[in-house]
């Protein structure tokens, strides 16, 4: 259930280093922000579409990622169109779509582990100030990845148990036991880690 969005591949985008792609993304973001001409924005959007397509991603996966955005874009387009005219609305939509498209392409073509490595490097100066403990960060990341499927399973079990008692969809009745269970789990995990801390 926590399958990374990364798409395995060997395209030019894949081969670029992670930090380079992130930097390019930030530069592109700044550039798109000041670009006004809908023609250029359309070009940027077209480029981002090509980039996404080049990663080899399945159409269904892209749809899942952009589905929610389409509604937001529609609302924004209507709003902007009403107050500032259709050309401006087009520019706004193209700008957002291009930005999201480029970011999506980077996510699809960059391994999770490579992005984590970039985060580690970025955190290193903070480590020296004593604010950040790299081992604790790595452990926290691992713990979250480890226990999401277990906590999800707890949620399903609680939901079934509630349904069996005819309690229907009461969010409080679902969430309170889930949190209590998770806090208990935190105690046991803490003990286990303690016992292995030599």
């Amino acid at each position: 259930m926590m399958e990374p969005l990364y798409v395995t591949g060997d395209t030019p985008l894949h081969r670029l280093p992670a930090w380079g792609k992130l930097l390019a993304l930030l530069v592109a973001g700044a550039g798109l922000f000041v670009l006004r001409d809908p023609l250029w924005l359309a070009f940027a959007f077209g480029f981002s579409v090509v980039l996404v397509w080049s990663t080899g991603v399945a159409a269904a996966a892209v749809w899942r990622q952009v589905r929610g955005l389409l509604w937001v874009l529609l609302a924004v387009a209507l709003f902007t169109g009403w107050f500032q005219g259709p050309l401006e609305a087009l520019a706004v939509v193209l700008r957002v779509a291009a930005m999201v498209g480029l970011a999506l392409a980077v996510t699809l073509a960059t391994r999770t582990s490579d992005l984590i490595a970039v985060c580690e490097k970025a955190l290193r100066p903070l480590e020296r100030t004593g604010l950040v403990d790299a081992e604790k960060v790595a452990l926290a990341l691992a713990l979250t990845l480890r226990f999401v499927p277990e906590i999800w399973r707890n949620f399903q079990e609680i939901r079934e148990a509630q349904a069996a008692r005819g309690l229907g969809a009461n969010p409080v009745a679902l969430i309170v036991p889930l949190i209590v269970l998770t806090l208990k789990r935190a105690q046991e995990v803490s003990e286990a880690i303690d016992a292995r801390s030599v």
């Binding site: 520019a91 999800w152 998770t182």
Partner: protein, 185 residues
Amino acid sequence: MKSNNTVLVALFAALIVVLSLMPPIPMPGIPVPITLQTLGVMLAGAMLGPVRGALACLLYLALAAIGLPVLPGGRGGLGAFFGPTGGFLIGMVAGAFVTGWLARRLAARGSGTWKGLAGYVAACVVGGIVVVYAVGVPWLAAVAKMDMAKAGGAVVVFLPGDLVKAVVAAWVASRVERVFPMLGR
């Protein structure tokens, strides 16, 4: 009771993931089914306090940023941060912090009573809604080139749902606090 801050932050981040991925709940009178993502944020702050709650949110956002599908609907990746609603995500970190900060002050005296519950509600509304919107709305205005008033008007439709979430979060926090006192630690 043994507790380890790293473990608490990590498991709460996992809780936010689970809450985000739960099927959205349709509510009468509200056009969009509400997701429980902000509920997770409010609870992280309310239960873990300002610092650990904010860290749990940060960890959650980091998981999304590195390309894991932990946002509602199985979304994830950098696209969510660069889009018009990115500010609502970033604002969650400050939101959790403020929720926790207020919860410690307002709900600590008299948790388990109506006063305590009211304290939690206030904390969740200010932290989970006001602060988050304070970051999200200007971001939306900037990205969509709207002026602030119009951007604010656009998101007003989500307020009723968020208010319900704040009350639910407060109720859950006060119930859990009775079994597992977390406010003092």
